[in-house]
Symmetry: C2
Subunit: 249 residues, 2 copies
């Protein structure tokens, strides 16, 4: 008897085989599994991954629509938290599945905060998941960081200027999330900075309809909301005489 | 018959249950699995994870010692590449396991470059793995990034000044790898920047002897080479009225 608890489970970016063994065991150990969705009759992406990776697990939907009106959004989130709290009140171990990692740009903690208002002291844990940028790097053959290179992860949801500061560092990889709407402006900025070389874009990574390819060749129009960009650090010809240990004195 | 190929497999940071289903299936589908080690009679960390996650898989060791002499290091790496090329020559599908993710500060691509010198055109792929900072965030209950916050990942192997640029951005999470040797100096810089609040350190994350805790309370001496630090963005009291969707106009 473990007692009521809330666990946020990262199920990875799309490919159901990128789920971890721990996520599978937490899914199967939970009394109830919730998944976010845009509408009660729409299968969310995280739910779709669970269906493939663990067909025996039933996912109950919580509506987290992108609602422009703050009051309506708050009401929807309250309703979701009420439902989770209701299950916790009966002693259930409750899981919430999330695309990617629950600690990286995820709604999980907003839900958890609201649940904790209702049931203070509820144990809240998370299980990490593979992030979209990691799978994009793998699928595009991109070495993200090596030696003393840096990596900047930004969200371009508020506009393409999000990449201006990271682009000032030529030895940093830049990962851009949620930049689909601003793709042409992002490409323009990368071109101006001389950083289009090796830059890749991924849409629906690991999902039916996936597009992964060179950013320079990408359509000039907007891409999907959940598109990811990976811009590798500017690199001289790789020096074969050094290794990852090269920075070690 | 798939033909010879080299695949870099991320096995996660330490906890064997953080391996992905895809990594397991690639391990079992390979004709040979190599793992890096410091000495031929030492079980490397990645090998240790494979032993627990997939006891049926045999790992052959390749010595990647941290050798200070560049010529000796080059010789050791050449020897490793020779051995991999030998297996590819017989048509084997060869896997190389790596801690964390093979595209994030991994020796895999250095090995792959040397193998490609010997056998140009060999297909090289990677399977992403959970990174240490993701598990550290999960185990310490740290929300890494939310809304339009940013994340900077740096290696402090060359010194504590690696965090100076990322620290200039108060709305960014800072993840520091390989900073163990410089821990006191890193703590000093974080304190001066007012960023110790919520900062956590992890050593041997998910392994026997794990230490995860507040950086402010960490020992004043150096920590292990593979220590990770996570410094969350500076946050005002969390605004309950907004969600991850808040940046969406």
């Amino acid at each position: 008897m473990m007692g009521p608890a809330l666990v946020g489970i990262g199920v990875g970016p799309g490919d159901p085989s990128l789920i971890t063994v721990k996520a599978l065991s937490e899914l199967r150990g939970a009394d109830r599994v919730f998944g976010p969705t845009m509408a009660v009759d729409a299968v969310g992406r995280a739910e779709s991954i669970v269906r493939q990776a663990a067909p025996d697990v039933v996912v109950e939907r919580l509506v987290f629509a992108i609602i422009e009106d703050a009051v309506a959004r708050r009401a929807a989130h309250d309703q979701a938290a009420d439902r989770v709290a209701e299950c916790l009140a009966t002693g259930e171990r409750v899981a919430f599945v999330t695309l990617g990692d629950p600690n990286v740009y995820s709604t999980f903690h907003h839900l958890a905060d609201r649940v904790l208002e209702r049931r203070p002291g509820t144990p809240v844990t998370t299980v990490p998941g593979i992030c979209a940028f990691q799978d994009l790097a793998a699928r595009s053959g991109t070495v993200l960081v090596d030696g003393v290179e840096r990596l900047h992860l930004v969200s371009a949801v508020a506009g393409p200027q999000a990449i201006d500061v990271p682009l000032a560092d030529p030895e940093a990889a830049v990962v851009v999330y949620k930049g689909g709407r601003h793709l042409p402006a992002l490409v323009e900025r990368l071109r101006a900075a001389g950083r289009l070389d090796g830059a890749v874009v991924g849409e629906l990574i690991g999902l039916p309809g996936e597009r992964v390819g060179s950013l320079a060749l990408a359509a000039s129009g907007p891409a999907a909301y959940l598109s990811s960009l990976v811009v590798p650090p500017r690199r001289e010809a790789r020096d074969e005489s050094t290794g990852a240990e090269a920075g070690e004195p």
